[in-house]
């Protein structure tokens, strides 16, 4: 069984195609691993074991039937088990968003990103834990309990896609979907030692992604290798008539790169991403990874993204402002939890007060204030203008370099409870991931070493809009020459 669990997406697909493993065997192996470790990790909110086995058996039957018609192409991911973060809808499967307010919500439609993977043949094992409405950096804000980091269960897995990151790190699934509004794919990927892609804004449909910050939300993939993340990403990406922010330009796709592709690639190191207060080992491992890439032919130069320090206050005004509008829909009338009330006003107040957790209330309050009469220009308006300056920093940088490399977070995984009483300290964990969302560019996180305590260190690389293939190539070639991504936590 260990052999099945250690298969990457690419290896699993190869094995499925050649009949050396069945989807049912793979799916059972995942479910057994979840059974064995879920008490320790708590990566899932909802498991869809029976449905997954039925779908796996159907995939096997289809593959068998296709042997008689070898010319008919099969869906490319047929029979591959994956997990989905519980903020993306799957029709008929409860979608909680980590919130009590959606405890019994059964969505009648499937998110486009998920549907495209289903059309490509994946088998969904379950819905993974998340900070409530994806608001958090540790998965401690879930109404369904915390997720534990597989490398050290006294520590957080990062967030908000902490369930997906922990599930992939603990070999419960070969890949999982996440979402990234301010770092929620990349930071948990870094904390759990896996690879995570945050796509360009507009690249992957958000239809069926429960809205948090609409000008920032993206859906991405967490997997064990850059190649695996790429395989799923290209199936999900592309124009969707159901999401007006998706861009209808042809998808170039991605080919396995030749090692020569790194020669002459210009990597920029932003000086603002190496702060005096950060964990020295994070800087050390990231700089050493950049040296590795330089050794493979890349050229490295220091650059500046001068408005980086403003990304945090800009984000924590814009995202809560958008959240306060998006979450107005939870009123106890049409779906979700409903509190007892005598009047309509009481119904709204009681439902929302009992249904939302502390962090969601905090962000709704913050956003409501930032948008309220008399404060709009000073807070939201000013934040939107500074956002323009942050975008321009990236545009300027990408005139000088092809990709930017930096740490994902200032520290490795912190302890459970370490920041729960101090929201500002928690927000500071996002300082290196937020600018990418504000600029809308793609970012990819992958492991580049371990600290003295055995915790993974992640590096992120960033590229111009719609250049995800560059990110996959750089990370793929790095992973061809290193073995950090192959390490497994002992559980």
């Amino acid at each position: 069984m260990d052999e099945l669990l250690s298969l990457t997406v690419r290896q699993a697909l190869f094995a499925l195609q050649h009949g050396s493993v069945s989807s049912e065997e793979l799916t059972r192996a995942c479910l057994e691993q979840i059974e064995r470790l879920e008490g320790k990790i708590h990566a899932f909110i909802t498991l869809t074991a029976e449905q997954a086995l039925r779908h796996a058996q159907a995939a096997d039957a289809r593959r068998l039937a296709a042997r008689r018609h070898p010319d008919e192409p099969l869906p490319p991911l047929l029979g591959l088990p994956i997990a989905v973060k519980d903020v993306l809808t799957v029709a008929g499967v409860r979608c909680t968003c980590g919130s009590r307010i959606l405890e019994n919500f059964i969505p009648p439609f499937t998110a486009t990103a998920v549907q495209r993977l289903l059309d490509a043949g994946v088998v969904i094992i379950g819905k993974t834990n998340t900070d409530e409405f994806a608001m958090g950096s540790s998965t401690e804000n879930s109404a369904y309990g915390v997720t534990f980091n597989p490398w050290d269960t006294s520590r957080v897995p990062g967030g908000s896609s902490g369930g997906s990151a922990a599930a992939v790190a603990a070999r419960m699934v070969p890949a999982a979907l996440g979402t990234d509004t301010g770092g929620s794919v990349r930071q948990p990927a870094a904390f759990c030692g896996v690879t995570g892609i945050k796509p360009t804004y507009g690249r992957v449909s958000r239809y069926g992604l429960v809205a948090y910050g609409s000008s920032l939300d993206t859906a991405g993939v967490l997997a064990r290798t850059a190649e695996d993340a790429a395989i799923l990403f290209w199936q999900m990406a592309g124009f969707d008539p159901l999401d007006a922010t998706t861009v209808d330009q042809p998808l170039a796709g991605w080919q396995i790169p030749q090692p020569e592709q790194l020669s002459g690639l210009r990597i920029g190191i932003p000086r603002e991403y190496f702060l005096p207060g950060m964990q020295p080992e994070v800087e050390e491992k990231v700089r050493s990874a950049i040296q590795t890439l330089a050794g493979m032919g890349a050229t490295v130069q220091e650059i500046s993204l001068p408005h980086t320090e403003y990304a945090l206050p800009v984000y924590y005004l814009i995202a809560p402002a958008e959240a306060s509008a998006n979450l107005a829909r939870y009123d106890g009338v049409r779906f979700g939890y409903r509190a007892e009330a005598e009047t309509l006003a009481e119904l709204f107040n009681n439902t929302r007060s009992a249904g939302f957790g502390a962090e969601v209330k905090r962000r709704i309050m913050l956003g409501t204030y930032a948008l309220s009469a008399g404060y709009y220009d000073a807070y939201y308006g000013q934040a939107q203008k500074v956002r323009t300056l942050i975008r321009q920093d990236f545009e300027e940088a990408f005139r000088q370099v092809d990709v930017i490399a930096a740490p994902v977070a200032p520290t490795t995984a912190f302890r459970i409870g370490e920041h729960t009483d101090d929201p500002l300290a928690m927000y500071l964990e996002d300082v290196f991931t937020l600018p990418v969302n504000l600029a809308g560019v793609p970012g990819l996180a992958f492991p580049v070493g371990f600290d003295r305590q055995g915790l993974p260190v992640g590096m992120q690389i960033m590229a111009p809009h719609f250049r995800e293939e560059l990110l996959f190539s750089v990370a793929f070639l790095y992973q061809q020459n290193t073995a950090w991504h192959l390490r497994t936590p002992s559980l």
């Binding site: 019994n104 919500f105 059964i106 009648p108 439609f109 804004y201 507009g202 000008s215 008539p241 007006a244 922010t245 861009v247 408005h307 320090e309 403003y310 206050p313 924590y316 005004l317 107005a328 009123d331 106890g332 009338v333 049409r334 779906f335 979700g336 409903r338 009047t343 309509l344 119904l347 709204f348 107040n349 009681n350 929302r352 007060s353 209330k361 905090r362 709704i364 309050m365 913050l366 409501t368 204030y369 309220s372 404060y375 220009d377 000073a378 807070y379 308006g381 000013q382 934040a383 939107q384 203008k385 500074v386 956002r387 323009t388 300056l389 500002l424 927000y427 504000l438 809308g440 809009h465």
Partner: protein, 103 residues
């Protein structure tokens, strides 16, 4: 306009109550005290944005190039009523039921 943000600003309990009312949240006394403290700290941190010169800088509302895309106005079936009402906490004869708005 922008001078209303002052470093070291603290929200009053009345302001916290006002924001909660706008957000349709009912806060306990303890929550009011805690949110007052935490929101004040976050807003104080955000005040550093005032240092940035943004004269003549356009706001970013979307990172995508501005464009509007229209689709054909073709009638299509929507989700059936019973599917929508399946998630409603208090459906009533094909409707969403709420407490009285007016007595």
């Amino acid at each position: 306009m922008q001078s209303i943000i002052i470093r070291g600003m603290t929200l009053t309990i009345e302001e916290v109550e006002h924001i909660a009312e706008l957000a349709r949240l009912h806060l306990t006394e303890e929550e009011k005290v805690r949110f007052r403290e935490q929101l004040s700290a976050i807003l104080d941190y955000a005040a550093r944005l005032q240092q940035v010169e943004t004269e003549g800088i356009p706001p970013t509302s979307s990172v995508l190039p501005p464009r509007s895309r229209l689709r054909e106005d073709e009638p299509r079936p929507s989700l059936p009523r019973e599917v929508i009402l399946a998630n409603a906490p208090h459906p009533y004869q094909g409707y969403f039921r709420v407490p009285p708005v007016l007595e």
